[in-house]
Amino acid sequence: MARATDTRVGLYRTVRLIRRFEQRAVDLVDTGDIVGGIHPYTGQEAIAAGVCAALRDDDVITSTHRGHGHVLAKGADPARVLAELAGRDTGLNRGRGGSMHAADFAMGILGANAIVGANAPITVGAAWAARHSGSDRVAVSFFGDGAVNQGVLLESLNLAALWRLPVLFVCENNGYATTLPVGEAVAGTITGRGEAFGIPSVTVDGADPVAVLTAARTAVRRARAGDGPSLIECLAYRFDAHHTWEHRARMRYRSDEEVHSGRLRDPVTIQGARLADAERERVDAEVESTLDEAVAFALAGPHPDPGGALDHLYASGLRPRQGGDH
């Protein structure tokens, strides 16, 4: 699969791919093939699809603990992403990064990141590098509503605005940071945080890939023209658990009614309705066969050799320390 494209079918293909990827990944968590669980992106697919469809292949993104969607939408091979989740040597990071740390530098994916907020300044640095090497590449930082309360995110907004860097700050407001509702965590507003630094900031419907795409195009144009960063707050609902352990430990921070009504605005249905039935079915079948192959590839891969644990600590191959038994 390639990066999300901005056509009707292209957007549908990406949201559908992410949806089914996550559902099949959850199955592999249940069977024990993915150890440690995942943070499913289900319900937020339109954001990754809409933003990545506004990008070029040579633009870069950084992502979060809930990052499979971003990585797939930017064009990573689903088979290698899934192998990474399953901890196999054939994964994007040879099984060493896992669900929260998929990275594919060839595809402009500088890394998902499990430390909430930590990816934002890295994006700023990548944007600075683009600007100062004379390219018009842009850099996108995806983050959640929880991240906007981390100091490092505010530092990143300031730096990007101060240096007029080509950054898109994409906040996925899914209403919760783990179990804490956004209303009990965020003083002021999310767009207000951007505005305070003079960053053009908008709120869009994060369930509709076209709405996200439209906002992202404006922001990308601004960034490429040298007019600095933008912030897009995408309103969405997380359909599944915060993390798959929640499937076992029911936590009751959202009522059944809320979850039910949150799921009514489904990005896959919204974009799917823009396709003829036959068209949609053809894409669904393609996605399914891609994922069949991905699952087979992921499960066929060998586990990493523990003997290689020291191989990549230092650029020179230096192994000055080893710990263990001595």
């Binding site: 896992g98 499990a114 981390q150 100091g151 940071a177 783990t178 644990a309 038994d325």
Partner: protein, 340 residues
């Protein structure tokens, strides 16, 4: 220490508890005993913490004493400093070991230094609770053992519990301590039914900053703490079948270290194995080895041997069994010491 107020009419004084439940009851007792104790952290209130260690506390003590904070580690610990210097005793929960680092600046630059900087005019009685260590099949940042960073920093106290009785008392003692305490909790043992123990809430606890000999022996000494205590006790049981008796010391306090019982033991056994999940380079295990060779030089029959995590970023879940010290690695180290 002040005896926590327990309602003896409804609560039996001896209960069989897991480590997790003991911590919960210990926190509860501390909050009952002192209205200045407040609990703060991510998801600690309504949810009761991702490990449920603060379960029910917000319901019973209210939102002003059990605060659900935004995702903001530096803000949480920094706020606790302000509370502490104005008379409160904040207990901060860091959700997982790997998420303490956004707060590292506050801990090292403020929490640790304030007392010295003000020449004793203020105390900083903060407890920072950290679920730590591996063995739960988790992803990166959820299995680390960062205790040495904090033990390295003068002005902080660092303790860790390995069993339910200690969990109950040590958390209360840490809260009563006038210095800042990093309180490391062995997360993989939180809910272990096998480790349920009789906790007598009317007992008199041992002092907080003391190590304890948890098994006596004459063949070799093992110094360890936290989640590795159980591993070493199991190793000692296995060694006994081979006619070796291992003396196991649960260090409990990592800063200040209480190595008196270790010195005394090594002078008898002549051999020391130090076991930690944390990697060894420039660590607590290095410190223990250095001090023991200095104090017990003429008694040592073999160099101090360390069995630790490897000096690599914590590995993915499927490889963690290779990283974590286990019974075989401990016994192997004992054999190597004996063969010296």
């Amino acid at each position: 220490m002040a005896t926590p107020v327990m309602d003896t009419n409804t609560t039996p004084t001896v209960q069989k508890l897991t480590i997790g439940k003991s911590l919960n009851l210990g926190l509860r007792a501390a909050m009952e005993a002192d209205p200045k104790v407040i609990v703060m952290g991510e998801d600690v209130g309504k949810l009761g913490g991702v490990f449920r260690i603060t379960d029910g506390l917000q319901k019973d003590f209210g939102e002003h004493r059990v605060l659900d904070t935004p995702l903001s580690e530096s803000g949480i610990v920094g706020t606790a400093v302000g509370l502490a210097v104005r008379g409160f005793r904040p207990v901060c929960e860091i959700q997982f070991d790997g998420f303490i680092f956004p707060a590292f600046d506050q801990i090292v630059s403020q929490v640790a230094k304030l007392r010295t900087r003000t020449q004793g005019r203020v105390n900083v009685p903060i407890v920072i609770r950290v679920p730590y260590g591996g063995g739960i099949g988790a992803v990166e940042h959820h299995s680390e053992s960062p205790e040495s960073y904090f033990a390295h920093t003068a002005g902080l106290r660092v303790v860790t519990c390995s069993n339910a009785v200690d969990a109950y008392w040590m958390i209360q003692q840490a809260i009563q301590c006038d210095d800042p305490v990093l309180f490391f909790e062995p997360k993989r043992l939180y809910h272990s039914g096998n480790l349920k123990a009789d906790v007598d809430t009317t007992a008199t606890p041992e002092p907080l900053f003391q190590s304890r000999t948890v098994r006596q022996g004459t063949t070799a000494t093992i110094a360890t703490y936290g989640p590795s205590v159980k591993v070493c006790l199991d190793a000692a049981t296995a060694a006994e079948e081979e006619g070796k008796t291992l003396e196991v010391i649960d260090l409990r306090t990592l800063s200040p270290l209480d190595l008196g019982p270790v010195y005394e033991s090594v002078r008898r056994t002549g051999r020391l194995v130090v076991v930690t999940e944390a990697p060894s380079e420039s660590s607590l295990s290095s410190e223990i080895a250095a001090k023991v060779q200095q104090e017990c030089f003429y008694s040592l029959e073999a160099p101090v041997i360390r069995v630790t995590g490897f000096d690599v970023p914590y590995p993915p879940a499927k490889l963690e069994e290779h990283f974590l010290p286990d019974l075989d690695r401990v016994l192997d180290a004992v054999d190597r010491s004996l063969a010296w």
